[in-house]
């Protein structure tokens, strides 16, 4: 079933009776060439690119819940490539290019909207830092435009520019940044993988990883044993538990990150906007809700909800920056479990166990990485070689100290990112 404007028209005129499920609900086979643990955005895109780019179609994605029910459905939907450090910069640049061709590629409307992202700054020092970042983005081949105060005012007239404590000095505009419909990204990749023969096994929780003579042989699941010579662990906040099944400890601590959405409003926030003096960022969904978030709750947690202190902090930061949102009613808030690494950068690598791969540590920035992460992990699993844009996401960088990527410059320690 292909989607097209004509198809929508025809279905609309014939009672919408011709739509079919987007993917099958197959029974697990006894053996696959490769198995991906985790049916989130990253796992699904890994399966999609394994099938599409590398022709590996005898593979399965094992999801303990349902497709789209984890972090891929719980994030704030921002897509950007505004990283500074080598390693991160080329990876997110590559991922953004995949985003830009994604809807054509998947034949699926993921509502990717390059509405522009503006990071505000509020001091001379912060301006210098953003000039430097903008130059790094330009060197990478991506786009960055430095806006002075008047330039920001043309885009975002509603800000409190003369806030007594944090006046707006300007902003760094990333025109190709924006948002996408997060659920549709999961569904589009799931459908694309399924159409190429990938088995998506939902309600299939991995309970053990079988290892013989230092090499992976398969997994035990709640739907029976499945043999596979290649296994990818792509489980975000649950990385620690799944890796433990293979006898590994990871440089990961799981934290809760909250997000919020207001009631639907008429269009008022056209961009993705981030505050430079408090952790707060906001965009408006196509339904009209103001989608916003802030920082981690900052202690290890697996509760998919947050605590009030951070909710209060985020609201305060929002009110400081754009007082006009004060009368909008918050509809709901929720939390996702972030796999935090000490340096705040991710991991896509082999493990010490043959055939066992790991993709984790996306911290609070995993959504925009969905295409790039899957593409690079698929490359690694299929060829055994690191994909160039993700070649610096090594697991051993913490042990050796070589190649740490501390984008925030705060140090490589668990409680700092």
């Amino acid at each position: 079933m292909r989607f097209s404007g004509l198809r929508v028209l025809r279905e609309g005129l014939t009672g919408n009776k011709g739509w079919q499920p987007h993917w099958r609900d197959p029974e697990p086979k006894a053996e696959y060439d490769a198995v991906i643990i985790g049916g989130g955005g990253h796992g699904l895109s890994t399966a999609y690119y394994l099938a599409k780019t590398h022709g590996m179609t005898n593979i399965a994605v094992l999801e303990k819940g349902y497709i789209g029910g984890g972090n891929v459905g719980r994030n704030t939907t921002i897509v950007r490539a505004n990283y500074f450090l080598q390693g991160n910069s080329e990876f997110y640049s590559h991922s953004l290019k995949l985003w830009e061709g994604l809807e054509e590629d998947l034949n699926y409307n993921v509502m990717h909207s390059q509405r522009g992202l503006i990071n505000l700054f509020h001091s001379d020092g912060q301006r210098d830092a953003f000039v430097r970042r903008g130059n790094a983005m330009a060197v990478q081949g991506d786009d960055a435009v430095l806006l002075d105060r008047a330039g920001v005012a043309r885009h975002l007239p509603y800000l409190d520019f003369d806030n007594i404590r944090f006046p707006v000095y300007g902003g760094l505009l990333h025109p190709r940044g924006g948002t996408a419909r997060h659920d549709a990204v999961a569904w589009g990749y799931a459908r694309g993988a399924d159409r190429r023969g990938v088995d998506l096994l939902q309600n299939c929780e991995v309970t053990g990883i079988d290892i013989e003579n230092g090499a992976v042989r398969g997994v035990q699941t709640t739907r029976g044993a499945i043999r596979a010579r290649k296994v990818g662990i792509v489980v975000a906040g649950r990385s620690g538990q799944v890796a433990a099944m293979a006898g590994m400890r990871l440089p990961i601590e799981s934290h809760v990150l909250q997000a919020f959405v207001t009631e639907g409003l008429k269009p008022c926030i056209d961009h993705v906007v981030s505050f430079g003096m408090g952790h707060f960022y906001m965009s408006q969904s196509d339904k009209g809700g103001l989608v916003f978030g802030g920082d981690l709750d900052f202690y290890a947690s697996y509760a998919q909800r947050g605590n009030l202190p951070m909710a209060e902090h985020v609201m305060e930061a929002g009110m400081t920056l754009m007082p006009m949102i004060g009368k909008a009613k918050v509809l709901r808030s929720w939390g996702g479990i972030m796999d935090m690494t000490p340096d705040g950068s991710p991991i896509i690598d082999k493990t010490d166990t043959g055939g066992l791969f790991i993709d984790c540590g996306w911290c609070y920035g995993g959504f925009k990485a969905v295409p790039g992460s899957g593409f690079s992990l698929a490359h690694l699993m299929a060829t055994g070689q690191h994909h160039a844009p993700a070649a610096k996401f090594r697991l051993d960088r913490f042990r050796t100290g070589r190649g740490l990527m501390d984008e925030e410059g705060t140090g490589s320690q668990h409680n700092l990112h």
Binding site: G240, P251, E253
Partner: protein, 90 residues
């Protein structure tokens, strides 16, 4: 979430600074080798359930405390002074 400081009593979570897993109390010897130090600085059990972590009553008495709690339910089982457990390696 509220924590009970052994010195100050029941307090709001905002008064406390979170250091991380209480592995910080088990600082290895300087010559312990890269593997041991990697385990101490970076690698974590990261349990979904009972955990034991290190906090400081930053906006209170300043004491370092060891908190036994559940990372899923946020239930707190017990708090004790780090100095009664061992030297805080923060």
């Amino acid at each position: 979430m509220r924590l009970t400081c052994p010195i100050c009593g029941d307090r709001d979570r905002r008064e406390f600074y979170y250091q991380g897993d209480a592995v910080a109390l088990d600082r290895p010897d300087g010559g312990a080798g890269a593997e041991t130090w990697d385990g101490y600085v970076h690698l974590r059990d990261n349990p979904a359930g009972r955990t034991r972590d290190l906090w400081q009553h930053e906006a209170g008495c300043g004491a370092w405390i060891v908190v036994l709690r559940d990372t899923v339910s946020h239930e707190v089982f017990g708090v004790e002074l780090a100095m009664s457990v061992g030297e805080a390696g923060a």
